[in-house]
């Protein structure tokens, strides 16, 4: 028998679970149910991570077969993924079998490969941010772009603190900018984002938005 899990079944499940979890925040009697649903969701999120990784592998394996220019990168990715997975399994098995924590190989991979790469990416981001700040007036010449430009300069100058080159008034200005306009603007943006998040969630609860497909 073929069970169609598409809407409205999926919609009904989504709406029901959402209402229960939301109610659990406000109604004490729903706390246990909410907790159960949350834990179930945690498990599903972990499974989703596994599914995502499997999907990643399959996509890049398909790219290996296709005659594309990025097939080499896909090969490297697949090799790296499999190698890390195998090493991690070995480490896990060793740890649980031997009884001693032994994730040296996994740690080595993380410490010597992933960490430097990502740190470097963030470092290059600083250059990109500097370039973006320098070219903002070329892209967009308006009042807010000019204000943005000068605020960046002031905040950076206020962060500078090398005696005797320290300019105290710049630090005061920086602190004032961070605590007053930046904070107020950030709060306003956060309020707006919160309102939008509320409406987005309510639309999901009402069944208007169905990101789970139809």
């Amino acid at each position: 028998m073929k069970i169609n899990l598409k809407s409205p079944v999926s919609t009904a499940i989504a709406i029901g679970v959402g209402i229960i979890v939301l109610a659990g925040y406000f109604i004490p009697s729903f706390i246990n149910i909410r907790f159960t649903l949350l834990r179930t969701g945690l498990v599903l999120a972990a499974v989703a991570l596994l599914v995502g990784i499997i999907n990643l592998i399959t996509v890049h394996i398909k790219k290996l077969g296709a005659d594309s220019e990025n097939s080499g990168y896909s090969l490297i990715l697949v090799i790296a993924l499999l190698a890390t997975l195998i090493i991690g399994i070995i480490d896990m098995v060793q740890t649980y079998l031997v009884g001693k924590p032994n994730f040296q190989m996994t740690s080595w991979i993380f410490t010597n490969i992933q960490l430097p790469i990502e740190t470097s990416l963030l470092a290059v981001t600083a250059i990109s941010l500097t370039y973006a700040a320098a070219s903002i007036l070329r892209k967009r010449m308006d009042l807010f772009s000019i204000v943005f430009f000068f605020v960046v300069l002031l905040v950076l100058l206020g962060s500078f603190s090398i005696p005797p080159a320290t300019l105290p008034f710049l630090q005061v200005i920086r602190n004032w900018i961070l605590r007053v306009p930046a904070l107020g603007g950030a709060r306003g943006l956060l309020l707006g984002i919160a309102l939008g998040a509320i409406t987005t969630g309510i639309r999901v609860l009402m069944g208007t938005d169905r990101p789970y497909g139809e």
Binding site: L22, Y25, N55, A133, L195, G196, I202, R203, T208
Partner: protein, 260 residues
């Protein structure tokens, strides 16, 4: 029930009521008076360009999941993805979507399939869309570069949860001389987007995508409800300031402290 809980219920009920109310009384989308957001106009324009020249759109949904604060931005990105797919159904190449979160990846694939099926457009198996590129934000950004640098991609739409890695993505789009429309709920990334993207979405503009892209009356009603509640908050803030000036704020704080 604490004051926080009660406040929460009141807010939710208020939003639901306002959304339902505005969904009934709002006019047609064409005559709906909303302020123009250049980013969404650019999206529509780029869709038309993609249709005409047979190019492709790239939509990235960020690294956020659905279990945290970034879930709202991720869901908003999914909504925009759905509208873009429906509007670009006549393109030679369907839009390509990329994600940095496994849950969002599954939802994106489901959205693409559902939208394609709704408009009778078969999903392009050769160009898998909605795939998980990286589990970390920067690995996701690095993986998205290859898609952005594809010559067939005419425009990039980044709507979701992004961090500082958005800089990489927008810079890559600028190198390709392709317009970049970006929006996120994270404030530091919004600053980066404002400086690097051609058409930024600041603040709650990300969550108005459905209304501007014709997702339905409820999306327009959401905007109206947000405006109403925003004004309510404004009045509350001003009132609090006034009460503080008058010295009544201490009394209110005690009430709130006792209930929370």
């Amino acid at each position: 029930m604490s004051a926080t809980g009660f406040t929460g219920i009141v807010v939710i009920v208020l939003f639901v009521g306002l959304m339902v109310f505005f969904s009934f009384i709002n006019k047609d989308r064409k005559t709906y008076n909303i302020r123009p957001i250049p980013a969404y106009d650019k999206i529509i324009q780029e869709i038309n360009v993609a249709v005409e020249d047979g190019s492709q759109l790239h939509i990235s949904l960020g690294s956020g999941g659905i279990t945290g604060a970034e879930s709202a931005a991720a869901l908003a990105g999914l909504g925009i993805l759905k509208q873009v797919i429906e509007k670009s159904s006549v393109c030679d190449h369907p839009p390509v979507a990329s994600t940095g979160n496994p849950v969002i990846s599954i939802l994106a694939q489901d959205t693409i399939k559902g939208s394609s099926k709704a408009i009778s457009v078969s999903d392009n198996i050769e160009n898998p869309s909605g795939e998980l590129i990286g589990v970390t934000p920067f690995s996701y950004a690095a993986g998205a570069l290859s898609t952005i640098r594809n010559d067939n991609v005419s425009a990039n739409i980044h709507t979701g949860w992004f961090g500082n890695e958005i800089t990489w993505i927008t810079t890559a789009g600028e190198r390709q001389s392709s317009p970049t429309i970006a929006g996120t709920s994270q404030l530091p990334a919004q600053a980066v987007i404002y400086a690097s993207a051609s058409d930024p979405l600041i603040g709650e503009e990300l969550f108005a995508g459905g209304a501007y892209l014709g997702a339905g009356k409820m999306h327009q009603a959401s905007i109206s409800a947000q405006d109403v509640v925003r004004w309510i908050i404004i009045f509350i803030i001003l009132a609090s300031v006034l009460l503080n000036i008058l010295g009544i704020d201490v009394f209110i704080e005690k009430i709130l402290a006792g209930s929370m």
